[in-house]
């Protein structure tokens, strides 16, 4: 009703949905989750072939110069399948940081990532930083003509598989100063980098990464020394919109699965779908998804050309709407499935878990409502 796609976008949507439908059943996905790396290198190569890994990036970095809406279309389709490949870490987070910062590192690493030959991860959150992007306790102290990095990062999506890590560290100022944060590009295998990979509750992989006297040269700096925060903020705001697009795909699927299930399941001699109390709930789920989707696409369109303030406001608004909708859709979907909804074998629980964690990622709806209000009253 609210989103009209170009022919090209329709192509992206069709090819991604086809892949998800053919190769991404819930059983196939579970096999990937249980595998060593938690995803399929083969799928990753296919993503590269289809051009998805370069979609949002500048042509000078080997990308295809896609728009925000192009990305939303792709993420939405991947969300329908709850895809577990490291697309968020390599493309949406670390890749975007490289693309926005530019320079020799971006020119070298992005084409390799886009070709599917190098995995990236974005190491920014810390055990005590919560969602405050300026709260960076990892230090990079001057050491000769380079730096020595110490400290710990957490929830580094796919940190265990990445070849290169984009790491934020404090090069000057106090722990929560906006100035003094610098982005570095590190080899995951570098001496002093210790990575402890783990599963996440929603079927992905992440890692705790500890840095002990990790020595890097000045050429490891991405962008401008002490000025990393503006890039981090841009990366996270954009990511919030794209995760909302992923959530939109997951919500669409959750609504459809619930509608189908209630039509099939009979109690009291009637399909569950014939009970008005449940019909109204499903109408609310549908509506929550539709509004969240509309706002997400509008924000995605804005991303191509907007000021940092406009971008931040749009991202916060999307996080609020998407988070609330994801919670409503996810919880009601489980409820309407009854006991079946609680079982790991049914697809619906997996959608519920991912929707829950997308809400939590970078701060939930409540957090962004506060952030939005603060921005509006400045």
């Amino acid at each position: 009703m609210s989103v009209w796609l170009t022919d090209e976008q329709q192509l992206i949507k069709d090819s991604a949905e086809r892949l998800v439908q053919n190769d991404y059943t819930i059983e196939a996905r579970q096999k990937l989750i249980d595998s060593e790396e938690g995803f399929s290198r083969e799928n990753w190569a296919t993503f590269a072939e289809l051009g998805w890994l370069g979609l949002p990036f500048k042509e000078e970095h080997g990308g295809f110069g896609g728009t925000g809406v192009d990305m939303a279309v792709l993420m939405e389709a991947l969300g329908k399948g709850l895809v577990v490949e490291p697309f968020a870490s390599s493309v949406i987070l670390a890749g975007t940081a490289l693309d926005l910062a530019g320079g020799p590192l971006a020119e070298r690493l992005l084409p390799e990532m886009i070709a599917g030959e190098r995995l990236l991860a974005f190491a920014h959150s810390e055990p005590k930083s919560r969602f405050n992007l300026n709260d960076v306790a990892v230090t990079a102290a001057t050491d000769g003509d380079g730096f020595k990095i110490n400290g710990q990062k957490m929830l580094v999506y796919h940190g265990g598989s990445a070849d290169s890590l984009i790491v934020s560290a404090r090069t000057s100022g106090a722990q929560r100063d906006r100035d003094g944060i610098t982005l570095f590009v590190l080899d995951r295998a570098a001496e002093g980098v210790s990575v402890r990979g783990h599963q996440t509750v929603d079927g992905l992989r992440a890692a705790e990464v500890t840095f002990t006297d990790v020595r890097v040269g000045a050429d490891a700096i991405l962008g401008v020394k002490d000025k990393g925060l503006s890039i981090i903020e841009a990366v996270v705001d954009r990511a919030c919109v794209f995760f909302a697009a992923e959530a939109s795909g997951a919500m669409e699927q959750a609504v459809a699965l619930t509608v189908d299930y209630t039509k099939e399941r009979k109690q009291f001699g009637r399909p569950l779908s014939s009970f008005q109390a449940l019909q109204h709930k499903m109408a609310d789920m549908y509506s929550a998804h539709q509004f969240s989707r509309a706002l997400t696409y509008r924000a995605a369109a804005l991303l191509d050309d907007c000021s940092p303030a406009e971008r931040a406001e749009a991202a916060a608004a999307v996080k609020v709407k998407c988070g609330q909708s994801a919670k409503l859709v996810g919880e009601e979907a489980i409820q309407l499935h009854g006991g079946m909804g609680m079982t790991a074998d049914m697809p619906i629980g997996h959608y519920f878990k991912r929707l829950t964690m997308i809400n939590a990622l970078f701060g939930n709806a409540q957090y962004h409502l506060k952030r939005y209000t603060a921005m509006k009253s400045e």
């Binding site: 929560r176 402890r196 783990h198 009979k266 079982t343 790991a344 519920f352």
Partner: protein
Amino acid sequence: MELVLSAEDEAFRQEVRAFIRDKLDPETKRKVELGYPLDKNDYVQWHKRMFEQGWAAPNWPVEYGGPGWTPIQRHIYDEELALGSTPRVIPFGVSMVAPVIYTFGSAEQKAKYLPRILSFDDWWCQGYSEPGSGSDLSSLRTKAVRDGDHYIVNGQKTWTTLAQYADMIFCLVRTDDSGKQQEGISFLLIDMKTPGISVTPIETIDGDVEINSVFFEDVRVPVENLVGEEGKGWTYAKFLLGHERTGIAAVGRSKRQLARLKTIAEHEVNGDITLAEDTDFQERVSQVEIELFALEAMVIGALEGEARGNPPGPEASILKIKGVEVQQAITELAVEAVGNHAHAFAPDTWDIHANEPGIGPDYAATAAPIYFNWRKASIYGGSNEIQREIIAKRVLGL
């Protein structure tokens, strides 16, 4: 808004506290505090401590081994058990099947089963739900056909909580399908070791295996295991539903979870304050606390009514709904409170003797799985929708 207690009740509270302090295994306590999975032994051990104290069955008449407490004392006891981080009382024996047995069972059944329920020598599970019969329970199809002095049972029960530990199962079975679906249901007690019974685990969305399917294939059950009369099972089941209506509100448990949430908030930093100093977060915690006090006020009222011989009827459905809403709201706030630490899933480390340390702070490890798991509470024991139906039809007469 703490409950004002008489001196006598206050002394009782202290006595219960001292008992828990002295008798609860510290490792079990720690596991409960951290939301780690419990072993069968954690439950059995604790139950035996309560039994030795004479406190295993607060809801039973004195003649069968109940302690003869007032409803308020029972409430205090439940609350202290929860606040003291004891393993939850497995309700299937002591709170569910036992009242049916001592109300409708034969003298032999009482003598055979009640002492073993009291001492927890038998672990019971509840075999009501079937794949095709959940909310519409009386449509159940597991069949029991009389063959001399046995019933031959065939069919499937599902969602059976902790059946993997059970020695006994109480089942609703169909002995006659000629009349209305509520008629022709009988209440059978079945030994889980009987040939023909198999149990398969069902993994839940939080990764746990607390529920099972129980299959019956030509299972021979002695006729003396029928409770009361054949065909009256539905009446007994309804009696049971009406029995422990105030317990399902789980006030004590929610109080402990709320206290735990507040501790988490003290440890989680947000910029230069802790979450405990974040007014926005605290307002939401307060909202839940007020709901919980309102729930408790309602429960106390119901208990006082019970003491006067007026137990609550179908209106007690609002206790179940509110109780569940409070429990679920607390699990949600816990996920929010632990922030980025909610994502990691490392069940191998949910053990106080684990080789590896957990990922992130220990209080955060199970926040999301517990939130996921707790969605069950609005589904089982009569879903929220079914409770609303009861209020609409049987209380409001709509």
